[in-house]
Symmetry: C2
Subunit: 107 residues, 2 copies
């Protein structure tokens, strides 16, 4: 099945690209888990705190973080030698919430 | 990275399994599209109407429908010789909305 519409530079195309990136990022349980942990830890954690929290290889974690970053769900900031990862709750609510909105009509 | 928790028969395990099935189903743009079309057509369509609406091979469409069915987002009913596909909006709102809820606290 072809994608419903082309994803050009139009506003609609950008919106579809956002939906694709966000829902692809959310498809993996580890990535949903990282977002929740960031949220419950106050919204942000350093790379070191994330590495300590997730008892698995850093390359795997960092791959998930990159996917979340590409979807705009996590933003990275450098502070001296630290990398700080922050969850973008507003974008999460906006992209997922907007897509879900039509389904609030009907049983 | 390992899955955050085992998915046993506990309520928490079932909830995680539901999240996995639903977010995996929503990861493909064609499946999100099918759900929206079902919704805007009043909530249900026959197999024939779906085949007419989506100008692509029926095996591809039916594969997407099976994935949506496995996630509980679409229910199939037989009426005589017809197969009727119905979107389960309540489940969609419940599973996705519940997961999104914590993120409503914070910017």
């Amino acid at each position: 099945m072809k994608k419903p519409q082309s994803q050009g530079n139009s506003a609609a195309g950008r919106k579809l690209a956002d939906l694709d990136a966000v829902f692809s990022a959310l498809a993996h349980p580890s990535r949903r888990h990282i977002l929740l942990v960031l949220h419950y830890r106050g919204g942000s954690m350093t790379a070191g705190e994330i590495a300590d929290r997730f008892a698995c290889s850093w390359p795997t974690t960092t791959r998930h973080l990159r996917s979340l970053e590409a979807a705009g769900l996590v933003r990275v900031e450098k502070k001296g030698r630290e990398r700080i990862y922050r969850v973008d709750r507003a974008r999460l609510r906006e992209v997922v919430g907007d897509w879900l909105k039509p389904f609030h009509d009907g049983d």
